[in-house]
């Protein structure tokens, strides 16, 4: 009984303060380390939104997510915008210390995005936001393999270019 009351209370609080909401859009959230002694770029969601938007159809694997429209910035055009050379590979790290290497060729072939919206909604961290590397699974069904599932890094907070 006590627990029920507590949950009800908590729900009320969530609605009141929006603690479950996405982090502030101007909060620095992504660090991009250029290769060999370059200055890191620290970006907020607002910074990313300044770039042209690109939408793909995809999903976060393994967590029961359904296909949705993901909107963000093309990884390739972001790096171009930042004046970074085309990388041979990128190591993407997540807040939960997960990391996976993305080959530079993927940018050319599939043009994955750094998504900040799912079906037009910003994502909270508990919803595996605020940033997710998303591949265009809808356009390229051949990507539905473990290799690309592993490269679909959610709670993205760092990119290392090589």
């Amino acid at each position: 009984m006590h627990r029920v009351i507590t949950s009800l209370l908590l729900t009320g609080l969530i609605l009141a303060f929006g603690a479950q909401a996405a982090p502030p859009r101007d909060m620095p959230i992504l660090t991009i380390h250029p290769g060999a002694g370059g200055t890191p770029h620290v970006l907020s969601v607002a910074d990313l939104e300044a770039y042209p938007r690109r939408s793909v159809t995809g999903l976060i694997p393994d967590v029961g997510d359904h296909e949705a429209e993901w909107t963000g910035v093309s990884l390739a055009s972001l790096l171009q915008g930042l004046g970074e050379p085309w990388p041979a590979r990128i190591t993407a790290s997540a807040m939960d210390s997960y990391r996976e290497t993305i080959p530079g060729s993927d940018l050319e072939h599939y043009d994955p995005i750094i998504a900040y919206q799912r079906n037009g909604e910003y994502l909270s961290i508990s919803q595996r936001g605020p940033l997710v590397i998303m591949y265009p699974y809808g356009e390229h069904p051949e990507l539905l393999t473990r290799v690309f599932f592993s490269r679909t890094v959610w709670q993205l907070d760092e990119l290392r270019l090589e």
């Binding site: 627990r3 507590t6 949950s7 209370l9 908590l10 729900t11 609080l13 969530i14 303060f17 929006g18 603690a19 479950q20 982090p23 502030p24 909060m27 694997p61 393994d62 967590v63 029961g64 807040m95 939960d96 210390s97 997960y98 909270s124 961290i125 508990s126 919803q127 595996r128 539905l144 393999t145 473990r146 599932f149 959610w154 709670q155």
Partner: protein
Amino acid sequence: MQPSRPRHHKLAMLALLSTLATMILATAYSLVTVNAKYAKYSAPGMHTEVWQSYQLHSETRRLSDTANRVLAGEATAPELIQRLGVAKSQLAPLQHTRVFDYLPEAHAELPETLEHLDSLLQAWSSRLSWQDTSQAIQVADEMADQLPTMLGPTHDIIVSANIAVASRLDAERHDLKRTFQRLVWVLLLLGTGSLLLAAKLFRDYRHTLHLTRELGTLNQSLEERVAERTRRLEERKALLGIILDSSPSDVALLGANDQHAYYISDTLRQRASTNDSGFLESLFVDSHQYTLFMQRLATSQAFDNWEARLDPRSPYWALLSVRHLEIDSHRAWLIWSLDISERKRMEHELKQLATTDSLTGLANRRTFLRQAIKQLRRSLREANPCSVLVIDIDNFKRINDQHGHQVGDTVLQAVARRLDKHLHPRGPLGRLGGEEFAALVKDADGRAAWEIAEALRDDVECLTLQGEDGRAIPVTISIGIATHSGQDTSPQHLLVEADKALYLAKSRGRNRCETLDQSSPGPSC
């Protein structure tokens, strides 16, 4: 034994059909199974629960560390909120996964741990905000107190997840193994069925081959027999041709309805002007004869010795024989035609010889008498008068003696020509023998007969014949006349009467006419 064979075949067919049906069903079942597995393994596997459990355990530790750093003033509220969010995201999939159902023994404390952690994280997250540091310190204090106690249970989750995933994989392996086992059985069944079908096919093929060979042999022997028969028929036909061609008779085989020519021998073919339906008509010289022949054909099945004159271009006498036949269920006439021209000619010649006096060409005595009887009867019947003349050359013996038989014959012929000239159209005329002739003059009473006889006598007297020595031979005749005047009489009687009158003429000096009939005109010569 005979009826059991079809039953045996029927049973075999049934067995074959049921084998086929089973094979089809098995194939369908296999397709469905394989398709289901295909769909299942189309999506990548989702056995990430161990990793998720490990991440939850790690995140619990990291959250605890961050809380301590907040308490130490080394970290801020956003960092705490971020870690809390990450922890919550780690927890959610584990709360929904069904993998723990695969645990051989249910781990009762698992859901409790997850629920407890969830309620803690919910409570803390609801109290935190991005800017409120004091609240963050308060929450961090609670976290630092509570979270270390959760490290043990979250570790247990890792262990359980590991066992559960292993069990699940094994269950899936087992399921796959069973599927493969079933597929093996199905394949075995299909293989056996195929073998049976192949055996049946092979057997049928051999049977067919055998039958084909037998059929071939039969066909060949049949062909040989047909060829042999054809050859014999040809031989017979050739033989028949030889017989027909060498036969003195001409043959025509004609359709009874349309006179279609089945066969016409060469000579007959040449004689007719056409070989189509008008063949027969064109063959006859006399159309009346043709009509009679056709009438006879219509009424008689067979007849022989029908005499007819054939070939209008060079007519000849033919003896026709007819037989009715049936050819291919059509009525036909088999007509044999024998050329009897020669026979006819000889017949005519014989007749001539038998009835004619060869020297003078007049009828002989017998023929004359026959003709005279016939004519006399006719005259009697018609009540017409008729007279008989008996003519004798005067002193013929002397002519013979003086000039020889040769001249005698010439005299006879000359007299006969005069006789013929005067008497021939008037009735029968003949040489009775020697130098004696006789004639029957129809429609002539005594007077008329007398005038005719006188004219004749006069004409003969005017004959100028010469002997071999160049001297003229005087030729005269004496004529005895007897006239039939209605009473019943005979030629013989009339001849006797005429003979008597002749005798009278001779005795009265020759070269004169005499009659015993008193009503006739008196002697004038």
